[in-house]
C-alpha cells in the first residue's frame, strides 16, 4: 500500500501540486519569520510577541478591506486595495514597533537576554487580551476566522488554475509572488542601502559599529520597528488564506512555525531563514499530502515540523547558516 501511494505521489500531477503548495507555504513562512530574524540578528532579542503582532496585522488589514470593499468591487480593485492594506498595516505596526522598542525593550539591554524573552512574552498576553476586548466591543467572534475579512477576497483567487498537468490554486501563485517580492525587497534593503549596511555591521559587532560612528541605538529602534512592520504585513497576507484567517489563536499558530523557521535557518541570518522556509514549507506540503491520502494521523504535518526543529538542533545546533557564537545568548 505504501509503495502504491509512493508511486502515486511521484506522478507529475501530484508531485507538481505538492511543490506549488510547498512554495506557497514557504512564501508565507518566510514572510512571517523574516521580521523575527531581523530583530534577533541585530539585537539578540527573541521576540515572543511576533505572533500576536502578526495577528494584529491580520485584523488591521481585514478591517481596511471590510471597510473599503463592497459586493460590487471589481477583482482588480480589490487586489489594489489589498496592497494598500498591506502598506497601511506595515506603516501602523512599524510605528507601534518603534514605540515598543523605545519604551520597554530599551531599558532591558543591560540585563541577561532571558529578560527580553520574558518581557515580550508578557507583551503577547497584553496584546491578545486587548484585541479580545476590542473585538468584544464590535461584537466580532474572536476564536473562529473572521468571515467578513475572508469574504473580501476576489473570486478568481478561490479558483484553481491548470499549469500543464499540475493543478494549483491562484491563491498559491499569488502567495508565491508576494513571498518572492518580500525576499527580494529585504535582500535589496540589507545589501543595497546604506541603512542595510549599518544593520549588517551592527549584527556583526555592535560595539565596533558604534565606535565607527553609527548610531546603534537608532539602528536598533529602526530594525525592531521594521521587524514588527513585517509581522503586520505578513498578517495581512494571512487574512485571505483559508487555512489561517484573522482570528486571535492566529498569534500562537504563527509564532511556533516562525520560531521553527528562524532556528532551523540559524538565528539571525536572513539567507538561512529563506532556505529554512523552503525546507519547512516543503516538509509541510509533503506530509500534508501523505496525511490526506495515506496516513491517518491527524497531527502529522505539525508533528513533522517540530521534528525538523528538534533534528536540526541535534545535528547542527547553530542552524543551517548560523554562526556558532550566537549560541552564547
Amino acid at each position: 500500500m505504501i509503495l502504491e501511494a509512493l508511486a502515486e505521489f511521484l506522478t507529475l500531477g501530484e508531485l507538481g501540486g505538492v511543490i506549488v503548495n510547498g512554495l506557497a507555504k514557504s512564501a508565507l513562512y518566510v514572510m512571517i519569520a523574516s521580521g523575527l530574524t531581523l530583530i534577533f540578528g541585530l539585537m539578540g532579542v527573541l521576540n515572543f510577541a511576533h505572533g500576536s503582532l502578526t495577528m494584529v496585522g491580520a485584523y488591521l488589514g481585514g478591517l481596511l478591506m471590510v471597510v473599503t470593499v463592497t459586493g460590487g468591487t471589481a477583482p482588480l480593485t480589490r487586489l489594489g486595495l489589498f496592497f494598500v492594506a498591506i502598506v497601511v498595516a506595515f506603516a501602523l505596526l512599524t510605528a507601534l514597533g518603534g514605540a515598543i522598542e523605545t519604551t520597554i525593550i530599551r531599558p532591558l539591554y543591560d540585563r541577561p537576554p532571558i529578560y527580553q524573552i520574558l518581557l515580550t512574552f508578557g507583551l503577547t498576553l497584553v496584546i491578545e487580551e486587548l484585541t479580545r476586548i476590542v473585538l468584544g466591543v464590535y461584537g466580532l467572534q474572536p476564536l473562529s476566522d473572521w468571515q467578513a475579512a475572508l469574504a473580501t477576497k476576489p473570486q478568481f483567487l478561490r479558483e484553481p488554475v491548470a499549469l500543464g498537468p499540475v493543478s494549483a490554486g491562484w491563491m498559491s501563485l499569488f502567495q508565491i509572488l508576494l513571498g518572492a517580492i518580500t525576499v527580494v525587497g529585504i535582500w535589496a534593503f540589507l545589501t543595497r542601502t546604506r541603512y542595510g549596511l549599518y544593520i549588517r555591521a551592527g549584527s556583526e559587532d555592535a560595539e565596533m559599529a558604534a565606535a565607527l560612528g553609527i548610531d546603534v541605538r537608532q539602528v536598533f529602534t529602526v530594525v525592531f520597528a521594521l521587524g514588527i512592520g513585517l509581522a503586520g504585513a505578513a498578517g495581512t497576507l494571512l487574512m485571505w488564506d483559508p487555512t489561517w484567517g484573522a482570528s486571535v489563536p492566529l498569534a500562537a499558530e504563527t509564532l511556533l512555525p516562525a520560531f521553527i523557521v528562524v532556528i532551523v535557518g540559524g538565528l539571525g541570518t536572513f539567507r538561512g531563514t529563506v532556505v529554512a522556509a523552503l525546507v519547512v514549507g516543503m516538509a509541510d506540503a509533503v506530509t500534508t499530502w501523505w496525511f490526506q491520502n495515506v496516513i491517518e494521523f491527524t497531527g502529522l504535518p505539525e508533528l513533522v515540523l517540530f521534528l525538523v526543529l528538534v533534528v536540526t538542533l541535534i545535528v547542527r545546533p547553530q542552524g543551517l547558516f548560523g554562526v556558532e557564537e550566537v549560541g552564547g545568548h
Binding site: 532591558l108 529578560y115 524573552i117 508578557g122 487580551e129 468584544g136 538565528l267 505539525e302 528538534v310 549560541g327
Partner: protein
Amino acid sequence: MSSPVSAETQMLLPTVETMVGVLYFGLFAISFDFISGYTGYLSFGHAVFYGTGAYTVILIANGKVPLLGPGTPFMLSLLVGGLIAIVLAILVGLVSFRLSGVYFAMITLGFAQVFYVFVRGWDYVATNPRDGPAVGPSHAEGFQIGVPGIDQLSLSIGVLTGDEVALLGATLSGTEVSYYMVGLVVLACYFAMQRVIHSPFGRVLLAIRENEERAIAVGYNTYLYKLGAFAISGFFAAVAGGLFAGFKRSASPENSFYFLVTGDALLASIIGGFGTLAGSLYGHLFDETVREFLSKAGQGGGLLPYLRALLGQGTLDTTLVGGTTIGGLIDLLLNGHASLYVGLVFVLFVLYVPDGLLGTLRARLGGTFAEALPAKLWGDSE
C-alpha cells in the same frame, strides 16, 4: 459567614477550589524554577512532564496501562508518572544540554510540542484525543492520598468525589479535604526539592548559573549535574500533573502538554522570584488571586459582582459618553479579561521588580524569610 466585611473578604479571596489549583500548579511552577531558576537553562517545554504525570494517572485509572490495573493506588500512579517523567527528562536532556540559551529553550519547546501534537492525535488515550481523557467508570471513587492500602490513613480528593471529614465539630467538604491532602503532597515535594537545593548538589547548580565555564574548570562535570537536576525537576513536575488530574479527573492536551502551560509556570516564577523555589508558589498564588479577583469566572466573588452589588442598578444604568453605561464599561473592562491585567503585572515585574516578590523581600531582609524576620523583629544576637 456574616461579618461586617464578609462581602469584601469574599471579593478579595479566591475560592477553595482555586486554592487547590494554586497548590498543584504551584508545585509545577516550583519544579520549573528548580531547573530554570537555579541553572539558568530555560526549560520552555516543561509542560511535557506535567502532562505525562496527568495522563499517566488517568490512563492507569482507566486500565489502559499494561500491568497496572484500575485499582492501582493513586500514590503509586503518581510515582509511576514521576518515573516515566525521569526517563523522558533524561532522554530529552541528553541531547538538549549540549545547547544553551535560546537554543536550549527552543529544543525543549520542540520536544514538548512533538509530544503535544502526538498526544492530541493518539486515539488510544481517549475516544476524542483533542479533548483529552477523563476518568471513566472503571474508577468511580475518588483518588486517595495517604498510605496506600490502609483506608483509615487515606482520604479521597476531587471536586465531587472527595471525602467529607467531621473534625472538632466542623465539617470539611470534599474540596477542603482535597486542599489539605494535595497540600501535604506539595509540601513534601517542596521540602524534598529544597533539601536538594541546599545540598552540595544544589550549590553546583548555582555555580552553573553564575559561571558555567568556571564550574567546569573547577572540575565538575556540569553536563551530569544539569541532567540530574532536569530529571529531578521532571519527576516533581509529573507529580504536580498527577495531582491536577487526580483532582480534576480529566486532562486535555491544552491544559497539560501545551507550551502556554509552561508559560504560566514562567509567569509564576518571575512574579514570585526567579531562583527562589518557594517564590514560584507565591507567584502563582498572586497570579490566581489577580485572575479570580478580576474575572467573573471565579465563583468566589471578585470585583465585578461586588461592584455590581455595591453601586446598585441606578448607578450602573447611568450613561457615560456615547451611550455606554457605567455597568457596560465595568463589564467590558472586567468580564473575563484577567489575562490583560496579569500580562501588565508581568511586564511591570520584569521591568521594575526583576527579583520578584520573594527575591525582593529576601534582598530587603538580608536573608531568607524564616531566618531574617525573627532577627529583624526581636533583634537576635547580631
